[in-house]
Amino acid sequence: MQRNGKKATDLQIAICGSAGDGTIAAGDMVKRAMARAGYKVIAFDVYPPEIRGFGKCISRVRVTSEQVFSLKPKSDVLISLDDSHAIPHVGEVKDYGAVIYEDMPVTMVPEGGHISGHLLSSHLPYGVPFRELSERVTSSARSRNIAVVGYLAGLYGMPRDVFYAVISDKFKTKPAVLTKMSIQTFDAAFEVGENTFRLDEGVLKPPPKKAKHGELVMMSGNGAIAKGCMDAGLDTFFGYPITPATTIMERLAVDLPKQGKRMLQTEDEISAISAAIGAGYTGARAATATSGPGFALMSEMMGLGTMAEVPVVIFVSQRGGPSTGMPTKTEQSDLNIAVFGAAGDGQRIVLAPTNVEGCYKCAGKAFEIAERYQTPVVVLLDLYLSNRYEAVALPAKNPFAANCSKPVGKLGKDQPYHRYALTRDFISPRAIPGDKGRRHAVTGLEHDENGRPNDHTHEMMSRKRHEKLHSVVRYPGITMSKRFGDKGKVDVAIIGWGSTFGEILEAMIIARDEGIRCAAMKVVLLSPLPMEPINALLADAAEVLVPELNYEGQFANLLTGTTGRAVTRLNRVPGTPMHVEDIVDEIRRLAAKKKGRKALAAE
């Protein structure tokens, strides 16, 4: 895989400002415009818990001509909308990278407060009077972020038309004059940028040819979840606001009623999942979305979903924990609660997409699977995946099937319907309220086939609830695990899950370029684990590395617990995505260890 070839575009822009500066909005314009132009885009915003005033916002956008899987540790451009916040990020600008900042006399800022004094000798400084530029066109400094975007576009030779389209789109519900003035600001700044000295390598190469299947759309992980829900025919959604899952509910609050479907904001997370289970019981497709603290409240109800065998889908966007933790920082520490969190033996299905496209797939398939297996399905995201934007090509045809419930066949005369009838695949034919002559009660008590409370059936029913899930590893139309990189024996195998897999894949590509034999595997189905492919990879690997964003190594524990194989853990909890370089270092170390053993054996 040729990644950094001369012809390829790979430009990472970091825009840094104070909450309220329009930082995130500026990043949003850049990523949407670039996706529209046909580039591959990955973007991730970091924002403070405060709404406005002093918190730091950073929007990072990576624009490439070939598919990449994560952001780079070093950006090519840093744009400062607020020097006090941007100064600590000067170090993340690569050599011969650009730093674009508001040009003002150094005498106007306190000592050490001007970013120009912090640049390294290898940085290209671009001081531009954005405020003045903005005021000259619109008589207001409020369009300063558009001036910044215009300057950036001019400097790097980005096509103008896509920005016009994005700006018109952004202000389409506002008075037309706003669009006009914004485009004027953009143009004025574009011309300044175009006529500035620049290094040739900085100029963007033309975008790759348009993707074959449909147009690329810029989508966040949460946006893709909402889209997947809509395409799968979600009937009802119940939620309670919590960062970083709220945007799923906000999106569905708009989209569901348009289809005559229903969204209800409940009084807490317990009611959200209770109502979703109530709705799932009636045969409707039902879901809720939350983050760690809300998920903890839901665990008792998930147990009921398992016991009463009611389909429901729970989207969980993880953030730093335990307790309230770090609401606006990413982490992968709710794996344990997703897989194990409830009273009693209660295996459930857990899916964890690794990128935005995966969010769409998992969201839709989760409803099919929940119905098919009559059990709660958890879809684990994290803040990094929820808020990350990628240019996604959606399938032209809706890939999700409607009602996947096992129907009740014809019953003989006087043959009673049994809700929990034992069958060969352990899945019982399911009737729903309203079905004639199929009346029954469902319960969280241990019960017999007829749903009547009964303690003597516990052994049999426990088996039923576990056995029925086994075939989910082969559920069609969704990738439950996938191996990348070298085939056959490898020195290092990296196994990962969730958003961190992007960094893992990048690291593996770098390591392979260095000549290390390695393979990476993403595991999407975290419960029950797809043991066959995992065991095959473990058998091929001399060393196994599991990088994840939690302190305990929750996935490593799960892997070792189920396979008996000791693995090397790489755990980080900085609240930000893992550094690709950290993973590469660990791969190098493990590969050298293997080489050392070989040399020793040769002696």
Partner: protein
């Protein structure tokens, strides 16, 4: 002719009961409650009401939480959802949001409702979810064998209040009236025919109807809410009670020493489904 003048023969009575049709709503499972429990008459009352209103059992769901009262769904022949402690109301809300054609009846006890499930009642009431909530109040935790509940009276002795209960009991009727429930009534398990009528009225009401049923626990409460004590203190609501007047309803609800039976308050207003349909209509524009 009064009953005293004409003897009642058991066989005749059984035939009469069979003929009424309400036994069709009973399941084959026999109730597991103690003999003498007030809950038996609630089963009778509900099945009679369902029968009188000709509600299709295939289109009916009875939802409960956990407790003695919550075993209810197993004893009647409709669809049933025996859910979690305190969570019957949100489960029922979900059922109604997903399928408004179903008749949904929520049953539960005082602990289930006002202790662990207290947070859900105001929201079901203010949203005006079109369900009937029948609350069996015996003022004690029966299934766990006799502990104090949020409606246990002051000075009540139980296994968890061996030195007498010092926590003020809640006044459920006051709560429901202030939560904006659109139908609030009270019945007594010792007056089964009146109760059956009240259940029928509550079921027929479109919107959130709350029926508080005073029901003695004959096993664990020998002193407080007994048939004897309740039988002597309950009274009908005054003839001139204005059920559209929330202040009058609250004045009656304050008289806890002599609980009044009947419909305290009734005020039809748009239900949750009406609101959701309105949202869909606006979104479609």
């Amino acid at each position: 002719m009064s009953n005293i003048e004409k003897p009642v023969y058991l066989e005749e009575k059984l035939e009469e009961i069979q003929a009424s049709g309400h036994l069709e709503y009973r399941s084959k499972s026999l109730p597991t409650w103690c003999p003498g429990c007030g809950y038996f008459s609630i089963v009778e009352g509900l099945t009679a009401a369902l029968n009188n209103l000709s509600i299709d059992p295939d289109e009916t769901v009875v939802v409960s939480g956990i407790g003695c009262a919550s075993r209810f769904p197993f004893f009647i022949d409709t669809y049933g959802f025996h859910s979690l402690h305190g969570r019957a109301l949100p489960v029922a809300t979900g059922i109604k949001v997903a399928n408004d054609d179903l008749s949904v009846i929520v049953v539960g006890g005082d602990g289930d409702a006002f202790a662990i499930g207290g947070a859900h009642i105001p929201h079901a009431a203010r949203r005006n979810v079109d369900i009937t909530y029948i609350l069996f109040d015996n003022g004690i935790y029966g299934l766990t064998k006799g502990q104090t509940s949020p409606t246990s009276v002051l000075g009540f002795q139980t296994t968890t209040s061996p030195f007498e209960n010092h926590d003020m009991p809640l006044n459920p009727l006051m709560m429901l009236l202030s939560y904006g429930a659109s139908w609030v009534g009270q019945a007594y398990a010792g007056h089964p025919h009146h109760m059956a009528g009240m259940i029928e009225e509550a079921l027929a009401f479109k919107g959130f109807s709350y029926l508080h049923v005073l029901s003695p626990c004959v096993t664990f409460d020998k002193t407080s809410k007994t048939y004897q004590n309740l039988g002597m203190s309950v009274r009908p609501l005054p003839d001139d009670h204005d059920r559209s007047d929330v202040m009058a309803a609250m004045a009656q609800a304050q008289k806890t020493d002599a609980p009044a039976l009947g419909c305290y308050f009734e005020q039809p207003r748009p239900t949750l489904a009406d609101g959701l349909n309105d949202i869909a209509a606006r979104a479609a524009k």
